[in-house]
Structures are given as structure tokens and as C-alpha cells.
């Protein structure tokens, strides 16, 4: 019974669903605030202190708005796709050790890194399906762009995720995190930089925000969505952003591990996790704000001709220098 209570508390409250939701909303706000400061604007400032409640207000508004399903669409897909994408992203987050261990205790296993990457891939298909089901020229072009771009960047992303796994000699995220006495970003910086670039594309941020280039195809795959379903799409985008930032943190920055000065180690774990993830968010936003949107053909060329060979090279390099690094890791 006691175990059950802890189980439910962890899944539903901390560090499970509720906490993740708050975290996602916080990152949403942070993202907007950083972008605004880059653009010489104020950003959200009225709702709550420093406008921190603005994302909540926005979601409440979206959830209470009229929800329209166009007549011609495939209704099942149209409704299910955003929910599918959303739940897959949440599920994937459950395997990220936020306070040092997974949301469901002792659920970490050898290979959950692959599971997380797989879930993210599947969720992206959900996003593609949502656009495809809309039967709108803008959505269709947007959905096609999601897939085209995705095929390019998902492969290098997975190859690059193998690099830290190789150093840690484990495919379990918890083990990878635990084995980073020195963050892997310092040991194999080349993989880390490439991973962030591939991630930028995965998260559809400038210069890779081609699938929803508003001046070309309005909302891209989400053009036809409104109300609750749009809220779920937006939420899944936010969750994806958190997963992306968290993946960099756990794979390359040592995750929740850092110096514990006093008090409960769990709180320090959360603290380090947050600090590192905010740093990653800042880098992602920085890149996004100093570049124009590329064109889909340029991105496809870049991915297949540049990023994939480079990521294979960086994996090879990691394998070669691994014996050297091992002495450093100890």
C-alpha cells in the first residue's frame, strides 16, 4: 500500500505528470521571454510575476475555445493524432531521470534510450498524421515537410545519441547519466555540438522551422486545428521541446548529477537538472534567434550530405578516442 502511494504520487504529482506540466509551462514562458529579449521586446509581463502565468492563461483560453472539426477530414485521425503525439511525448519523458531516477522507480532498463528515441519518432509521426488528416493544402504541405525534414535529422540524432552510450557502455539513460563524472560534453564536444544542431531541426526551431513557416503555409500541419485539439498540439510541441533539452542534459551534461552541498540530494538533483536544461534552452533559443528560416531543399541537402556523414564520423572518432578517454573517466 505504501509502495502504491509513492507510485501514484510519483506518477501524478512529482516528478510525474503535474510537475512535468508545470515544468513545460515554465519552459514555454522562458522560451518566450528569451526570444522577446533577443528581439528587443518585453515578452509576457502582465499575467503573474514577470508574466510567468501567461502560458497557463493561454492554455486555459485554448481549452475553453470553440473546437472545430472540418467536415471533410478523417475524424478519427484528426482527433486522435494530437492526443497520440501528446501522450507519446509524456510517456517518453517518464524515462528521463529528472531527480536522479525515473518517474516510475526502478523502471530504467538496458535500452530505454532507444525506447525514448523511438517514442519521439512515433510522436512525430502523430504530428505528421494530424496534418495529413486535415485535408488542407497548407496542412498537407506542412505535414510533408515534417516527414521530409524528419527523415533527414532523426538518423543523425540517433547516431549521435549512441556516442555517449558508447562511452558509458550502457544503453540505459540512468546509467549514462550516472557514469558522467565529467560531463560528456567536455569529452566528446563534437558529438554534443552536432547533437544540438540535429535537435534544433528536430524541434523545428529557426533556422529549421520550415514545417510551420507561417508566411508560406500559415500554420503548417496545425492550420485546421482549433480549441482543445490545438491546445494538445501546442502542448506536445512544448513537451517535445522539454524532451529535447532534457536529452542534451542527460546524455551530454551529466543530467541531474552535480555537487551536493547540503540537505536532500533529490532537491540538488532537481536544481542541477533545471540549471543545465535552462542552459540548453538558452543555446537553442540563441541559435533560433540569430538566423533566418532555411528552405526545405537546403535542409534536406544539409542533412543528407553534411549532417549524416559528420555524425558517422563523430561516432567513429568517439570509438577511436574512447580508450584514451577511459583513463580520464577512470
Amino acid at each position: 500500500m505504501a509502495l502504491d502511494l509513492i507510485f501514484f504520487a510519483r506518477v501524478l504529482v512529482f516528478p510525474g505528470f503535474l510537475f512535468l506540466l508545470v515544468l513545460v509551462l515554465f519552459f514555454d514562458w522562458l522560451e518566450r521571454k528569451i526570444a522577446a529579449r533577443f528581439q528587443n521586446r518585453m515578452g509576457p509581463s502582465y499575467t503573474g510575476p514577470f508574466g510567468i502565468l501567461q502560458p497557463i492563461a493561454d492554455y486555459i483560453k485554448l481549452f475553453s475555445k470553440e473546437d472545430i472539426t472540418p467536415k471533410q477530414t478523417n475524424k478519427l485521425l484528426f482527433v486522435a493524432a494530437p492526443l497520440l503525439a501528446f501522450s507519446l511525448f509524456v510517456f517518453a519523458l517518464f524515462f528521463i531521470p529528472i531527480d536522479g531516477s525515473n518517474v516510475v522507480l526502478y523502471s530504467s532498463f538496458e535500452g530505454d534510450l532507444i525506447l525514448v528515441l523511438l517514442l519521439v519518432t512515433l510522436a512525430n509521426f502523430g504530428i505528421f498524421l494530424s496534418g495529413w488528416a486535415s485535408l488542407n493544402p497548407y496542412s498537407e504541405i506542412g505535414a510533408t515537410r515534417v516527414l521530409t525534414q524528419f527523415l533527414g535529422y532523426d538518423i543523425p540524432l540517433i547516431i549521435l545519441a549512441i556516442c555517449p552510450a558508447f562511452l558509458a557502455k550502457s544503453l540505459s539513460i540512468v546509467n549514462i547519466t550516472a557514469s558522467q563524472t565529467l560531463p560528456f560534453a567536455l569529452l566528446i564536444p563534437w558529438s554534443c555540438v552536432l547533437f544540438v544542431i540535429a535537435l534544433q531541426a528536430e524541434l523545428e526551431k529557426d533556422p529549421f522551422d520550415i514545417p510551420h513557416a507561417e508566411t508560406e503555409i500559415v500554420g503548417g500541419y496545425e492550420t485546421e486545428y482549433s480549441g482543445r485539439k490545438l491546445a494538445f498540439i501546442k502542448l506536445s510541441e512544448d513537451f517535445q521541446f522539454l524532451i529535447g533539452a532534457a536529452l542534451v542534459t542527460v546524455l551530454f551534461l551529466g543530467g541531474a548529477h552535480g555537487p551536493v552541498l547540503f540537505g536532500m540530494p533529490e532537491l540538488w538533483h532537481i536544481f542541477w537538472f533545471m540549471v543545465k536544461t535552462i542552459g540548453v534552452v538558452f543555446i537553442l533559443e540563441y541559435v533560433g534567434n540569430v538566423s533566418a528560416r532555411l528552405r526545405i531543399d537546403q535542409v534536406v541537402h544539409g542533412n543528407w550530405k553534411l549532417l549524416i556523414p559528420l555524425s558517422i564520423l563523430s561516432l567513429a572518432l568517439t570509438v577511436i578516442v574512447e580508450p584514451l578517454l577511459r583513463s580520464v573517466i577512470g
Binding site: 526570444a35 533577443f38 528581439q39 528587443n40 521586446r41 470553440e66 473546437d67 472545430i68 472539426t69 472540418p70 467536415k71 493544402p137 497548407y138 498537407e140 504541405i141 510533408t144 529557426d206 533556422p207 522551422d209 520550415i210 513557416a213 507561417e214 508566411t215 508560406e216 503555409i217 500559415v218 534567434n289 540569430v290 538566423s291 533566418a292 528560416r293 532555411l294 528552405r295 526545405i296 531543399d297 537546403q298
Partner: protein
């Protein structure tokens, strides 16, 4: 100037038998009345013998029993070739085979005056809505807005089915409609792109969503009132429109504008250009997905708006020009403040020039995109920064100096590349050039009166007036019949001239190039659509009531 005299000489020597009357009342302005159907020869001659000759526009005037078609040719000045057709059977030969750039102008005259151009490739409506009654030509003198409003109705359905048929897709080619409401456009126009994957196969455009009937309305107002009317054609280049109109009227009435007024006009005109170009550079950033650039440029545009407000009392609609001068003076204190702001903006403008030159992502998106070669640009008669981006060295300020431009040193920026990047760079550099002009004009303001008194009635006559608006050559043609009301006011804004080229160069490009190319054209549709009379009270045939809107939504949508 030589070019202009050469052009008139060529016509006089080679077409003596066709010329009925030839007047050159002002330097660089010629009005040549031709015998019917001789206009094609005259235009071919000019194109052959005058370097970089372009057609500015075609304006039609209803003379009572004849319709006069004025072909305004830009060659150093303006040579206006007049071709008269009968009003009962208004038919003439097209010039689109000689000069493809005349396409839209002929459609416009066809639409509004009912003149048929034989041999035109697609003589269809340009400005009026599809359900406008046939045989109703609003720019004819006897047309009254109220008399003809009870035509056949429910063409709403007709136009809907038509657009449904248009969108019938075949194979892998799908139609993507951008506009009238689309984030790409800041004003309502419709572009239909046939798209195969990511490639644009074909493009069509439909203008006329923001008609306000200004040309017709101008005939019903006195000259001094019309100044405020033409100002409202476009917010961004309002000073260009008023300057142009005032010049035309001053030309008709032989009014000498005091030099101080000319300098002040120049200052406001250039401030307009600076803020318009900065606006466009920011919009280009937005269209290319570079939000930070957009926000920064727009913030740096604010000091310019502040100077305009300080000088004229308004941020945007300056209300500054009047026939015979300007309406407000500038104080030494303001001059000092303006000079300081200009210095501030100049620093930023130079920085943005570097950004456009050096930013890798911007160059990836704009270089080699939407190339318009010099020969095509000449054939399509494009104007302003679009022409200068394609290596045509045209600038009304240089070749036909007006206001104080004859006395102010400045350079005409010209790029040879002809791509989107070149068009944006022309603007980025022109901002700095304009700031120099403002600097010079503020430093060398002559003393004297602000304006001369002008009578309401103007003598009989006609005048073509040209200015270099931010988007290119703006031309006003005013005809007076000796009363206080103009007989005809014709406005051709630069966007209409440049839009002809858009479908031509977008074919074969990527979808993502559409915003880039449109942005580099800097379209201003409120300028372009200005002349149709839409009476909001009687125009209910094509407007839906709120109930109808709700019903139609329920028909198409289930929630």
C-alpha cells in the same frame, strides 16, 4: 534630358504624318496627339531608339464622344502619346506584343472604361469584382454610382463555383491559395499558386480587394480637397502621393512653389522613404523567418516616425503638402533634433546593410532567388528598387528632378544581380542615401515663404507628374476643364508596375521563395487598388449579413 529631347525628335522625324498635335509645355513633358491607331508605331519607335524606355502607364479619359488613351512613356521625361477611340465602339490594338509590361494597364482600362484591346492575351477583369454588371464602366463620365446598383444579383454563388472549379486539382499539382487573408500578405489580394511538391508551377493573381474608388471620388472634389484624398491612397508613401498631385496641379495652374517649400517637401518625402524602406527590410526579415531582425529594424524606424510627427504633427498621415507649397514650417529646434535622430538611424542603417550583406542564412534564402534579368525588367516595365536591383539605372529624382532634388547631391543605387538579395540591398543602401539627402536639405534650408495663395479654379489643361515613391516611379495624370474640380485624375502606383513581373519570376521557384520574392517587391496593395467605386450602402450584393455568415459556416463545418 538629352534622352527626352532625342525621343521627341525621333517621333517628329519618323512619324510626322501621324502627329496631329505636339506640345512641350514644360521641360521633360511632351503631349503628342496621334492619329487613331498609330500608337503602336510610335511606341515601337521609342523602344527602338531610346535607351531604357519604359511604359509608365496607360490612362484613359472619357472626353464625351471619344475616349482618349494616354500612353505615358518614360524616356528621360514623360512622352504622352494620345490615341483616341470612339466611345460607341471603343476598340483599339493592343501593345502587349510590343511591350508585355502593358498587360495590366490595358486590363485596367478595359475594366474601368470599357475599351477593348484587340490581341491582348487575357483581357479580363482586373479591379472590379466578378459580379460587377457588364457594361458598367465606373470611370466614364456619365456613370453614377447609384443608378446602376440594381443589377442582376446572386453572382456570389457564380463566383464561388468559379473559384471551386479553379481549384480542381489534377495529379500531383495542387493549388495553394494565398490571400486575400494570409500571413504572407499584409493587405488583401489573392494569389493562386499551382504547386507540384515544393515547386511552384504557375501563379495567378487577383487584384481589387481594397478598392475605394479614389480616382472617381477625386472628380467630385475640389483640387485642394483632393490633396487630402490622394494622401489616403497609401499611408506609407502619403508624401509621395501628395507631392505628385500638387506638382501636377501646380503644373496646370503655372504656380511657382517657393524654394523653402520644395526643400521641406523633399525632407518629408525622404523621411517617408527611409521609414518605408526600413519597414520593408523588417518585413523581409519576418517573411524569411528572421523575427529578431524584424523587431529590431522596426524599433529603429521609430526615431524617423518621431521626426515626421515633430515636423508635421502626425506620425503617418503628414497632411503636409498643399497646392503651392507646404502647410507647416520647421523650427531650428526641430532641425537640430532631426539631425540628431538622423545620425542615430544612420548608424543602425549601416549596421543592417552589413547584416544583409553578411548573414549566412539570409543570403542562402535570397541569393539567386527570383532573378529578373535586365532585358525582362525593361520589357515588363518594372520600376524603382525592383528595376534598380536588375541593373536599370532609373530614378525619377535623377532623370527628371522635382522638388529640391536638382540641387541635392546623391547617388542612385544600382545592383546588377537582379535577385531578391539585390532588391533588398538596393533598399538597405538607399536608406543611408536618403538620410544623407535629409541631412543636406536640413542644413541648406533656404529662407522664404512656405506657400503661395492658389485659386480654387484651375485653368484648362493637363499635366503628368512623376515622383520617385519608395517603391518606384509614381505617376499622376490630372486633366482640368477650367473649373475647381478636376476632370480626370489618374494614379499609377509603382506596385502595379512591378506586380506584372511577379508571376513571371516565381515560376519554377520553391514555395519558400514566394515570401522572399514578394517581400523584395515590397507590394503595397492599397496603392494598387484605388479606383473602383464601391458604395457600401448599395454594395450589399456582395456582402453577407452576419446571419448568412453563420449559416454558411454551419453548412461547411461541423463542430
Amino acid at each position: 534630358m538629352e534622352k527626352f529631347e532625342n525621343a521627341v525628335e525621333v517621333l517628329k522625324n519618323n512619324l510626322a504624318d501621324a502627329i496631329v498635335e505636339c506640345r512641350v509645355p514644360k521641360p521633360r513633358k511632351a503631349y503628342i496627339l496621334l492619329k487613331p491607331e498609330r500608337h503602336r508605331e510610335a511606341i515601337s519607335l521609342l523602344l527602338k531608339h531610346v535607351e531604357d524606355a519604359e511604359l509608365s502607364t496607360i490612362s484613359g479619359t472619357d472626353l464625351g464622344n471619344e475616349i482618349e488613351l494616354n500612353y505615358h512613356m518614360a524616356c528621360g521625361g514623360t512622352v504622352t502619346l494620345k490615341n483616341r477611340v470612339s466611345r460607341e465602339k471603343p476598340v483599339t490594338r493592343t501593345i502587349t506584343d510590343i511591350l508585355p509590361g502593358a498587360n495590366l494597364y490595358e486590363r485596367e482600362v478595359f475594366d474601368l472604361l470599357g475599351v477593348t484591346f484587340e490581341g491582348h492575351p487575357n483581357l479580363e477583369r482586373l479591379m472590379l469584382p466578378e459580379n460587377w454588371p457588364k457594361g458598367d464602366y465606373p470611370l466614364r463620365r456619365d456613370w453614377k454610382p447609384n443608378a446602376n446598383q440594381e443589377g442582376e444579383s446572386n453572382s456570389e454563388e457564380a463566383s464561388q463555383t468559379e473559384s471551386a472549379a479553379e481549384l480542381d486539382d489534377a495529379g500531383s499539382v495542387i493549388s495553394v491559395v494565398m490571400g486575400p487573408q494570409h500571413p504572407l500578405l499584409h493587405e488583401p489580394e489573392r494569389f493562386t499558386f499551382k504547386v507540384d511538391g515544393e515547386t511552384v508551377v504557375d501563379a495567378e493573381m487577383r487584384l481589387g480587394y481594397v478598392h475605394r474608388g479614389i480616382e472617381k471620388a477625386a472628380e467630385r472634389m475640389m483640387y485642394f480637397q483632393d490633396v487630402f484624398l490622394v494622401e489616403r491612397i497609401c499611408g506609407i508613401c502619403n508624401a509621395a502621393h501628395t507631392t505628385c498631385f500638387c506638382q501636377a496641379v501646380e503644373d496646370i495652374g503655372n504656380i511657382e512653389t517657393p524654394p523653402r517649400a520644395l526643400y521641406l517637401r523633399t525632407i518629408i518625402h525622404e523621411l517617408n522613404r527611409v521609414h518605408s524602406h526600413l519597414l520593408l527590410l523588417g518585413v523581409a526579415g519576418h517573411l524569411l523567418g528572421f523575427e529578431a531582425l524584424f523587431q529590431h529594424v522596426w524599433r529603429d524606424r521609430e526615431p524617423i516616425m518621431d521626426i515626421v510627427e515633430r515636423i508635421t504633427g502626425n506620425r503617418l498621415m503628414s497632411g503636409f503638402n498643399a497646392i503651392g507649397g507646404v502647410r507647416r514650417d520647421i523650427t531650428p529646434n526641430t532641425v537640430e533634433k532631426a539631425l540628431k535622430s538622423v545620425e542615430e538611424v544612420r548608424k543602425r542603417a549601416k549596421f543592417y546593410k552589413v547584416v544583409f550583406e553578411e548573414d549566412a542564412t539570409l543570403r542562402l534564402r535570397t541569393e539567386g532567388v527570383g532573378v529578373l534579368s535586365k532585358s525582362d525588367a525593361l520589357k515588363l516595365c518594372v520600376e524603382g528598387p525592383v528595376a534598380r536591383g536588375s541593373g536599370i539605372d532609373v530614378d525619377v529624382r535623377k532623370e527628371d528632378p522635382y522638388a529640391a532634388y536638382g540641387e541635392i547631391p546623391f547617388n542612385v543605387i544600382c545592383y546588377k544581380d537582379g535577385d531578391t538579395w539585390a532588391r533588398l540591398m538596393v533598399r538597405a543602401e538607399e536608406v543611408v542615401e536618403s538620410l544623407d539627402i535629409i541631412d543636406y536639405a536640413l542644413g541648406n534650408l533656404p529662407a522664404g515663404r512656405l506657400r503661395v495663395r492658389v485659386q480654387r479654379k484651375q485653368p484648362e489643361g493637363e499635366a503628368v507628374s512623376r515622383v520617385e515613391a519608395p517603391r518606384g516611379e509614381l505617376i499622376h495624370y490630372v486633366k482640368s476643364d477650367g473649373t475647381a474640380y478636376p476632370y480626370r485624375v489618374k494614379v499609377r502606383s509603382p506596385t502595379l508596375a512591378n506586380l506584372v513581373a511577379f508571376p513571371e519570376i516565381i515560376r519554377g521557384a520553391y514555395i519558400a521563395d514566394i515570401p522572399a520574392v514578394i517581400g523584395s517587391f515590397d507590394p503595397c496593395f492599397s496603392c494598387t487598388d484605388r479606383m473602383v467605386f464601391l458604395d457600401t450602402q448599395n454594395g450589399r450584393r456582395w456582402r453577407w449579413s452576419l446571419d448568412e455568415v453563420n449559416n454558411s459556416k454551419n453548412r461547411n463545418v461541423v463542430s
